[in-house]
Assembly symmetry: C2
Homo-oligomer: 215 residues x 2
């Protein structure tokens, strides 16, 4: 019953990435001050985040890079292999299937499914697209926990209901819809329009509606 905030978990994920980047540089140790700066947070914030889970550093010294990586991977559950089924073989589906950025973190896309007969049977990144109607069978075969929804907004809630019925326990949703799901399902939604609109909001104060011509 840990009361760990979403913000803390999100930041752990970011620390992990920064740690891996420090490791790339061949360094064995790092200070909270540096790791925090690279993660764009305050050093106390970072130490507090870690303190919820244990004491991983050495006072006066800092943190061992490989040890802290190992600890955060453990916290995030990345010590085991996660199997994910990708629903939707459109352009976004292609991008996700071809994006191998989380394979080092033990998250694997093990199957791809779509409802469009024109797409079923095609191969994407070495994976043959199956019929999304067979969600339950695909889940059982791949032993997948996570469903990735890369489908149009209109199809998302329907599909979400289906993958829940098929036994998936986690959903990463890319459709611009707020999904209604049982509380037991772990859901994270990525909304591309939100990303762009955060930027336009900030820019609108700086840029006038009509671009003023250079004088």
């Amino acid at each position: 019953m840990s009361r760990i905030s979403n913000s803390t978990v999100r930041r752990l994920s970011i620390y992990l990435r920064q740690l891996e980047s420090v490791r790339e540089e061949g360094r064995e140790n790092v200070l909270s001050a540096e790791l925090a700066e690279r993660s764009a947070v305050k050093a106390t914030q970072m130490r507090k985040d870690l303190s919820f889970f244990g004491s991983f550093g050495r006072r006066g010294i800092g943190y061992s890079v490989p040890a802290l990586i190992e600890q955060i991977r453990l916290i995030l559950g990345l010590d085991r292999v996660w199997s994910a089924v990708l629903f939707g073989a459109g352009s976004l589906g292609h991008a996700l299937a071809g994006y191998h950025g989380f394979e080092p973190h033990n998250i694997r896309i093990t199957a791809i499914a779509d409802v469009d007969p024109g797409r079923i049977g095609k191969t994407i990144s070495g994976i043959t697209v199956e019929n999304a109607a067979d969600a339950a069978a695909i889940r059982a075969r791949t032993n997948a926990q996570i469903a990735v929804l890369a489908v149009p907004a209109t199809a998302a809630q329907d599909l979400a209901d289906k993958v829940v019925a098929a036994g998936f326990s986690g959903i990463v949703n890319f459709a611009p819809v707020r999904l209604i799901l049982p509380a037991s399902i772990a859901l994270y939604s990525v909304d591309l329009a939100v990303a762009f609109e955060q930027v336009t909001y900030k820019l609108k104060d700086l840029k006038p509606p009509v671009p003023s011509p250079k004088s």
Copy 2:
């Protein structure tokens, strides 16, 4: 200097999407209670968010759907057309170029650029890929404010510096890196690994490391 929180802006974007969905249904009015539920927030939260910008509802009645859509579009700066240049013509770049979800919100991808000679000259979604080295010229020609970074992590900071120098004022970053930028640049980062790891974190408490075989 408005003191509007990021959370509020993010939610406005979500309200807008829900309002559009209500409009699809042919409805002219909506109550804060319903709109809030569809957005997965409390009704008071929604009304408070709107109250920072004005009074758009009618007491005892609710909100006019088209009027509120108009207001939120204005707040988010979506009353004008935003031009965005996409950097990176890999799989994610293809997905973004093919994703027309924000065109109704006046955000247009007007050019695509890459550093890979093998990609330059190819056409994606009707747009010819240009040389990323020409960022400044592309920006000037398209009158773009926003640079979309869909490049590998290793290339992101470098490219970010270049697009800032080229005169872009906003960046939507898809590379898993914390970019260091001048404070005047509007930045929003989308990190796919964070999305997946939020889900694995939640699931790890529920699922044991080794799947227990069915008895």
